[in-house]
Symmetry: C2
């Protein structure tokens, strides 16, 4: 059992120069958890970034197999933490142990997936235009393009995936895979889980013989740590998963820098589910069950939680709504990740429930503890929905808004008025889909992933995944934070013109002219 030290890990070494401290809270009891963690100081941020910057050229010069071996090594070190990691994560997040074991597998699989991607090398999409010495009016030079690392990457860990979107999660894995040094700002909701993981990463780096400065872990609960980090001139890109408010604040800070940097923020998403008529008639009960499961999975704390369901009024919708209401009225409250998340959810639910014309269905809240979230179904007419813009925003937690439309035309109108989402889902028979082609075209404009006859929770980590959609779902819909394409965020193309072959990057040497 490793004793937690409450420190940052900066280039492989412990550091705790600051004086301001914070504790994690156990969501299931509300108790503060030892040890105390220290806010990173400006000097510590400076040191972590300077170290990272000093490694850029040596990291860029590594053979792919060396980076791949590091990623595999990190996965192995995480597994070597065994149940200690799971127990601490469960304590800090109140997520079930089984879920955390699954998330650990996802995290290590993800690291190994990127190791394979790096070994394969084809993600660099090398291109060549050979010299044409006799072309008129001028010769064409030899031009070859590959991808190089963008530079030091700052990663902000998410609260809701203490392993897979945290210290050694998808952002860190894809940035390291691209050959970038990484500085992780840990989430204050699970600093102990972060420390354990951060030490595992540092351990793998030490074993690999690579420079220790390619990874640092900074703890902090104050916005200043995050702002100092994103503003540092040597940070080349940022990746964030969290709330719209925090993500936008960091995006704004990145954009107003003297030299702006790319900032990939995954923020709020309503993930609308459109249920078409024949599907509603044929399997309304099944859809209601699936929707309830998806909304309440992990106490609704998934970025792909379906926060909106849309269908056309009629007898079958009435039956569907009745079933769904029953599910929510019997739904059990669950401990949420942090006190601010629980408070924000409660306030949002109260605000939505108090809009005239909105009805709410939920279990009795009498016995609910302050850190618990109560599954809640809101129902609303299309007219009320269109009038109240706040109904279009994400409620982070186990709630969904069922919009009852008077016609398919109104359903299309609702599709058009939505903001961007990570996902959009359609339940429909072939006949339904054929009759609603314009709706499909509209939803493609609103989301990064279109799901048919399923539910948005459960994001596959694979080559064709797109986990990124129009704002505010993410700050740049052209990129994904899940799946192998996530590596594209952290590299940029360089074209070599008439470069002697022995000075070309290896992947360009092999190309025949």
């Amino acid at each position: 059992m490793t004793a937690l030290r409450g420190t940052h890990v900066i280039g492989g070494e412990d550091s705790a120069l600051g004086t301001v401290t914070f504790h994690a809270t156990a969501p299931s009891t509300g108790a503060a958890l030892e040890p105390a963690y220290v806010e990173a100081t400006a000097a510590e941020i400076e040191r972590a970034v300077t170290l990272a910057d000093s490694c850029v050229e040596s990291l860029a010069a590594l053979a792919p197999r060396q980076i791949a071996a590091l990623l595999d090594g990190i996965a192995a070190e995480i597994e070597a933490l065994k149940e200690e990691l799971i127990e601490r994560a469960a304590l800090e997040t109140a997520l079930p142990v089984e879920r955390l074991r699954g998330e650990r597998a996802r995290t290590t699989n993800q690291l190994r997936l990127f190791a394979g991607l790096v070994r394969d090398g084809s993600w660099k999409e090398t291109r060549i235009d050979g010299a044409l010495p006799d072309r008129l009016p001028v010769r064409r030079p030899d031009l070859r393009r590959t991808m190089i690392p963008i530079g030091p990457v700052a990663v902000w860990a998410a609260s809701n995936f203490p392993l897979a979107f945290s210290v050694a999660g998808g952002d860190t894995a894809s940035a390291l895979a691209a050959g970038c040094p990484v500085i992780v700002k840990a989430h204050p909701g699970h600093p102990g889980t972060s420390e354990l993981t951060g030490r595992a990463v540092a351990q793998a780096i030490a074993a690999s013989g690579l420079p220790a400065g390619i990874f640092s872990l900074l703890q902090g609960a104050s916005p200043e740590v995050s702002l100092d980090l994103v503003r540092h001139p040597k940070i080349a890109a940022g990746a964030f998963t969290g709330s719209l408010r925090a993500g936008r604040a960091l995006f704004d800070a990145a954009a107003v820098r003297k030299a702006p940097i790319a900032f990939f923020a995954e923020m709020g998403s309503v993930n609308p589910v459109f249920i078409l008529n024949e599907a509603l008639t044929e399997r309304g009960e099944t859809i209601a069950d699936g929707l309830f499961q998806s909304v309440t999975l992990g106490v609704g704390q998934f970025c792909t939680c379906p926060g909106l369901a849309v269908a056309v009024e009629g007898r079958t919708l009435e039956q569907f709504a009745r079933t769904l209401r029953g599910r929510f009225q019997r739904g059990a409250p669950g401990a949420m990740l942090t006190a601010p998340i629980a408070r924000t959810y409660r306030e949002a639910a109260e605000r939505i429930g108090s809009i005239p014309g909105v009805t709410a269905s939920a279990a009795d809240r009498g016995a609910v503890r302050s850190l618990e979230g109560v599954p809640t179904l809101f129902e609303v007419s299309d007219g009320i929905f269109l009038e109240h813009e706040e109904l279009r925003h994400e409620i982070f937690g186990p709630a969904t808004v069922l919009v009852r439309c008077e016609s398919a035309a109104r359903m299309l109108e609702i599709g058009r008025c939505l903001e961007g989402s990570l996902t959009a889902t359609i339940h429909g028979t072939r006949y339904d889909l054929e009759a609603n082609r314009p709706l499909l075209a509209v939803l493609a404009r609103k989301a990064g992933r279109l799901i048919f006859d399923g539910f948005p929770t459960g994001v596959e980590v694979c080559t064709s995944m797109q986990h990124g959609g129009p704002y505010p779902a993410t700050s740049d819909s052209r990129f994904t934070s899940v799946g192998t394409a996530a590596i594209q965020r952290f590299s940029r193309p360089v074209c070599f013109q008439d470069c002697p072959v022995e000075f070309l990057p290896p992947e360009l040497q092999a190309l025949s002219k």
Copy 2:
């Protein structure tokens, strides 16, 4: 001969609702050119964007061959303008007729290159992860990824390429190729050339039977037109080529929108040229000739103009500098594109020349007209260069700064202190390159294209070109504005999960599971 009308072209129709007018100026005489052009009004911007937005879904549903045919049609319409286009462009820009004919060929070749890319379809990089129905703990769904158009794109034309980076230039061609409607803000330096080209585009659209709203051309000389356009909520992306000041202002406006959008600005670039010792000894004379040609080409008004040359002190550098001085002292002044460009160049040259320790070599300025730029060589020691940050910024015009370093170590230090550039050039023998590997690694961090034993002017339009570098060269170094990869700016990935085959985009239907 088409009479110029002085109007905008909004969805195929003339419009001139405004009251504020401006005229182009003939740089060779300083005379105002008829007709007067009207600044676009807020209502006209609104109409152009609304029309564009209304076409998004129908444009996205087109077969690739329809878009390809449109691009080919635009090329043919531009050619049909014959010498009228060349004559007006020469009048408005003072660029030589032969250069403009070459630029027209580049423009039409570029349109046809994108037509070919669209027909080929492989740029969408489709990906598939087939369903795994028996996988545990849960089945893997069928996941397929393709690219869809990002939405209406606003394009800001450049002053220095009135055809190839203007109304039907690379930004417009690549945005249309991606399936996006385009609104071009014409450059006020060549409104007549823009009107002719804009009508050619509208003509090709009319002949193709596609909706007229997919293209509009707005005229304007005031910042308000540009700001209104970039702030419009229905604009999904912007592309700009021009000055750092204007580009950054529009980038900032794009970033502070309620929903920020990607804004691709190609701005200032110093394009450093490093000349290593053996190369200097072996072919200093040839390099001096080539450098002078590259600096003064088109009166230095290329984004890839080499504004900085760096070499180590010694007898061969002294000989090189003497040769170069001679070239610049005999260099002929040339009419610059616009009065503001000529004034900014003159002021920058005076400012640089007055830094203590900087020496300037140029022809006598006595007889120079106000719109002319005089080729100027500045020489400076490494120490002075490192002290004065303004020496690191682009001077837009026929000037270059020769930095004489006391050692190779200082040359490396200079490489490290540079801002981002579109290009970096190295002249060196195999021995030189081997001895300066760290310099190569540093320059790769600073530029999008590394040129060996050549000069940066002359940008090939091909698949492996990278015309984009770290800030301030461009606002996003991960993208290019020249070459086929430019299309990636205007599309985004969408993943289809368990979509019935007949509702998949055609390029995903063909994939086997």
